[in-house]
Amino acid sequence: MHPDISSLVDTRNGTLDPRIFVDEEIYKLELKNVFARSWLFLAHDSQLAKPGEYITTFMGEDPVIVARQKDGSVAAFMNQCRHRGMRLCRADLGKTKNFSCTYHGWTYDLGGRLVNVPSEDDAYRNGIDKAEWGAIKVTQLATYKGFIFGNWDPTAPPLTEYLGDFTWYFDAFVDRCEGGLEVIGGSHKWVFPANWKFAAEQFCSDMYHVPISHASAALALAPDDMEADAEIFPLDGTLGRQFTSPWGHGTGFFTESGDVLGLIVGREPGEWFQGGNPEVVDRLGTHRALNMRGMHATIFPNFSFLPGINTMRVWHPKGPNEMEVWAWTVVDSSAPPEVRERLRIGNLRTFSAGGMLEQDDGENWSEIQQVLRGHVARQTPLNAQMGLGLDWDDDPNFPGRVNRVYCETAARGFYGRWAQMLSGASWDELAVTPPLESVRQS
């Protein structure tokens, strides 16, 4: 028996029921009503450059194969043989002509169609309809500026509608230059013994933790001639914005700051990202090109990134008490080699298993999870009230519903949408019922 869903997340009073992070029943429901209905990031175009190249990933806990087809299109289907359910492909990535099951040999082409069944005539007396028994296709597949997303729900709105008012903010990351982004080869994959929502929410909504959680990294990373102080990293929340989308996406950034990117990943990427590159200013306009600094973001539910630092990652759920992080470094394809190299090094030093910032995030998330083993801890609501009732939606420079950068409106939006989806609300209902009460008009 799981508790009444509508009481788990109280966006009106800004409280969270801690059972959303630990309860097995809620987790099962989350796989069904959140992960099997949301648009989930699968791969970036540059990871599947040539026909036959594939990667394997997960949608929720369901394994999928994403493969480049001979005609240049992309297909995504369950990484599971339809005969007895064996995993079709056990590699992380590679290049192939087809996927042949290692149990009895059923063979599927790059698009997941069943093309060969051993002893079809003798064993099946030709009585099997191969067209019926292809791998299960990801129901909806769409690409936005090189980012490939999949969705299991045939009734889900198109990806562009789902990205909604977050698109303007997403473009500040993905649409800076002709040619877009590309992924630097290799990935960081590791495990946090904590619920995936802690990480997704933090990238969605939490600039507040940075000065405390990451104090040591700021000290260690600062170049000799740089002081990691409030000029680099403002402590005044009016010097930044946080944004929440009714679809649960969120972001936060400084509108004015020192060279915060220079501090974290190095001066060359900082200069490249917000040094006023005319092409970027031309494509994005001044505010997005120059006044969104040190940005964090999550596309609901589990795809997060840090524009400028240029890490992007998926928080794969592995039960209520564990997540697996898959992180990549991306770079504008037109960036010069030294920017690319500094980003690669800068990311492994900051946002990876060995990264000096992410280590401290992991400490927070895993310790929360341990505390939540307790009975009393599970009855004690958590506070998500920062900036409650103080959002505005008429900012001259930043569209949509915003607040100061130190705020939890994006967390309330994230958990609010999560609870709505968990309850099984239809897409029609979701379209007309934003997770947060309307902005109070002053």
């Binding site: 290799g186 990935s187 959680s213 260690a220 697996e324 060995g354 401290d360 927070n364």
Partner: protein, 182 residues
């Protein structure tokens, strides 16, 4: 029977092996006792300290298992990078290392070969690194280190590590971080 000429050669080889094994053991001691500043002194100023990532590949593509030098890595450090990591741990605010990890480095299978330069040797050793932390966190890392060590009479211990490549025998890391040294 060993010829009379070969005896001194074999002796020299044993002495070298002995010297290098002592150096390897000293390093384990310095890390496990958290004498990180002294540990840093074991590295040359031009050191490259690298731990590539590993992906799961089929046999026919196994040559692409390890990330390339221009791809993702767990560590890709010069001396300054190593110093920054030590400075972070010493800051008193490195929460993932405060309270600190309890590490124990077990080095074995030490193999020494002549290096590219006259004073350099290629030293390869397997390791098992146990890490306990807080009340009940445990991680075990197993892998191989391939070093280039340089005979350096002016260095305190007579040797400097000029290059290190660490290969971990895990793909998805089952630890929540790599906040320790290999």
């Amino acid at each position: 029977m060993t010829s009379q000429l070969e005896v001194p050669l074999a002796m020299a080889e044993m002495l070298l092996q002995h010297e290098i094994e002592k150096f390897v053991n000293l390093e384990a001691l310095l890390i496990d006792d958290r004498r990180f500043e002294e540990w840093l002194d074991l590295f040359s100023d031009d050191v490259h300290y690298w731990m590539p990532t590993r992906t799961v590949r089929y046999e026919r593509e196994i040559h692409r298992e390890h990330s390339r030098p221009d791809e993702a890595a767990h560590f890709d450090e010069n001396k300054r990078g190593l110093e920054e990591r030590v400075a972070r741990i010493r800051s008193g605010m490195a929460w993932a290392e405060d309270p600190p990890s309890r590490t124990r480095h077990l080095f074995t299978n030490v193999m020494v070969e002549a290096g590219g330069e006259p004073d350099e040797y290629q030293v390869r050793n397997n390791f098992l690194l146990y890490r306990g932390r807080l009340q009940r966190e445990v991680d075990i890392f197993v892998g191989v280190r391939e070093d280039v060590v340089r005979r350096s009479p002016e260095a305190e211990h007579g040797w400097l590590i000029a290059r290190r490549t660490v290969t971990l025998d895990q793909s998805v890391l089952l630890a929540k971080n790599l906040s320790i040294f290999f």
